[in-house]
């Protein structure tokens, strides 16, 4: 039962899960961070209010978020095939993961940036700072603890979604859990994958929070 093939399969599953989760989150931020910044500055009390841009981004983010991930996964199969060349396996899963996570990330970035004290932004304006400088030297710097905390949450959610992709042959630990635990009734393998997912989640969560804590200077110490 626990021969080397099984163990290798599980080890590979771990690597695939880490690969999918980390790559999707990083690429999700590549889309979501600029989108969140644009949402923040184009909002009506933002640095450069632009109702049209805000409404467009707002609509995109709400529409994508309202589609359940499993359906998005299937809906995007033709698109994924175009980009990756195949619709199964862990690299293919990254495509829907990015598309699903980017709007969530954008919303979280928006929420983080809107927490920045308006007084500090006003002070920067009074010093003659331009909007670009305010974004890069004030907003993103002052909000960094909250940004990292939210990135940790995003990483955790993407980990969960990556496991869900297992139902359609997405690779990784979720895939193993579905194939062995569900189709073959091998509960022991499923339990092992669940434990491994929990461990991975804890590692992501704790290291993210540690980074956030290290970056935070707002608490007395």
């Amino acid at each position: 039962m626990w021969d080397s093939t099984t163990i290798n399969m599980i080890l590979e599953g771990i690597l695939q899960t880490i690969y999918m989760t980390v790559t999707s989150t990083v690429l999700g931020y590549l889309l979501g961070l600029p989108m969140g910044v644009l949402l923040t500055i184009s909002d009506k009390n933002g640095l450069k209010p632009n109702p049209f841009l805000y409404k467009v981004l707002d609509a995109i983010s709400n529409i994508v978020r309202s589609i359940p991930f499993l359906i998005l996964l299937i809906l995007l199969i033709p698109f994924t095939r175009q980009i990756v060349g195949q619709s199964y396996g862990s690299t293919a899963t990254i495509v829907p993961l990015i598309i699903c996570s980017a709007p969530y990330i954008a919303r979280m970035v928006e929420a983080s940036l809107k927490e920045v004290d308006p007084g500090v932004i006003e002070a920067a304006k009074a010093m003659g700072a331009g909007n670009t400088q305010i974004v890069f030297k004030v907003l993103l710097v002052e909000a960094r603890t909250s940004l990292v905390t939210n990135a940790t949450i995003a990483l955790g959610s993407v980990l969960g979604y990556s496991a869900m992709a297992g139902t359609v042959g997405g690779g990784g630990l979720g895939d193993i859990a579905v194939r062995y635990g569900y189709y073959r009734y091998q509960t022991d393998i499923m339990l092992v994958t669940v434990v491994l997912l929990i461990v991975l989640f804890q590692i992501f969560q704790n290291s993210g929070m540690a980074v956030a804590k290290k970056l935070d200077h707002t608490k007395k110490s």
Binding site: V120, E122, M127, A129, V141, R144, K220
Partner: protein, 264 residues
């Protein structure tokens, strides 16, 4: 030439389709090296007025002329350049919480693209001026209110401004700290000749350091001139509002005495 000239300035806001006149027809002039106090109760329009001096608020009509330049005529870049010469400090200090003291003081210089080594040297000089050299590596959350305001003053002075705008700069501080901040402002004014405009609801502040004063009531300037010529309606400004009226009044009387004692 006047350092600051405000001509027929009005500002109104549209709030839920109703026009609110925050300021109407303000005229005043501030000369070089003045310490000009604008006093008024909460809601009188002081904060809006001082924000018109650097165009953080655009007046609805009228002109703000700083050292001969009318701010309304400037484009975005020219306005930003002008703002580097008009520094501002705030009631709640508004320091960058994630940057330490020295980086806060350097901040306006990095915005202007000054070299980091040059900026640091300047910043240490300024920290010495405000008496906080040993706190250079501390973060704002580790400082008291008075210390944070000193950092804010050092930061404001970093770009060698001609004018310093003070938006209720001592309102969040206790009487002793208020007095020490005021005497610091007075000293800087004497040493550098910087023009200071401050708004406050505390008569004690005006009496402690201002040479000129204007009284703002419900968006209108009711009196202005040299401090000894203006008839200051003393009692009126002792209360703020609400239930704690009496206690606040008592505090403020004490405050005024202590500030007067300290500044001398």
């Amino acid at each position: 030439m006047h350092e600051i000239e405000v001509k027929n300035l009005s500002k109104s806001f549209i709030e839920k389709d109703i026009r609110v006149d925050a300021l109407s027809n303000i005229n005043l002039t501030v000369e070089k090296s003045d310490i000009y106090g604008i006093i008024g109760m909460s809601g009188a329009g002081k904060s809006t007025l001082i924000r018109c001096f650097n165009y953080l608020e655009r007046p609805t009509s009228g002109q703000v002329i700083i050292n001969g330049k009318e701010l309304g005529q400037l484009n975005e870049n020219e306005l930003r350049a002008e703002r580097t010469k008009i520094a501002m400090i705030f009631q709640h200090f508004n320091l960058l919480q994630q940057k330490n003291v020295i980086d806060n003081v350097i901040f306006p210089l990095t915005i202007q693209g000054v070299k980091k080594s040059e900026a640091r040297a300047k910043a240490f000089e300024l920290l010495a001026t405000v008496g906080l050299e040993e706190k250079a590596n501390a973060y704002p959350s580790q400082l008291s209110g008075g210390q944070q305001q000193r950092v804010a003053i050092a930061r404001a002075l970093a770009s060698n401004p001609r004018i310093l705008l003070c938006d209720e700069a001592t309102s969040a501080l206790d009487p002793q700290t208020t007095a020490s901040i005021l005497s610091l402002l007075k000293r800087i004014n004497k040493e550098t000749g910087i023009t200071i405009v401050l708004i406050t609801h505390q008569m004690s502040v005006v009496k402690a350091i201002c040479n000129k004063v204007a009284v703002l009531e419900a968006g209108e300037l009711v009196e202005s001139g040299n401090i000894e010529d203006v008839n200051l309606p003393e009692d009126k400004y002792f209360w703020i509002d609400g239930d704690s009226h009496l206690k606040k009044r008592k505090d403020q009387v004490n405050n005024r005495k202590e500030v007067a004692d300290y500044v001398g």
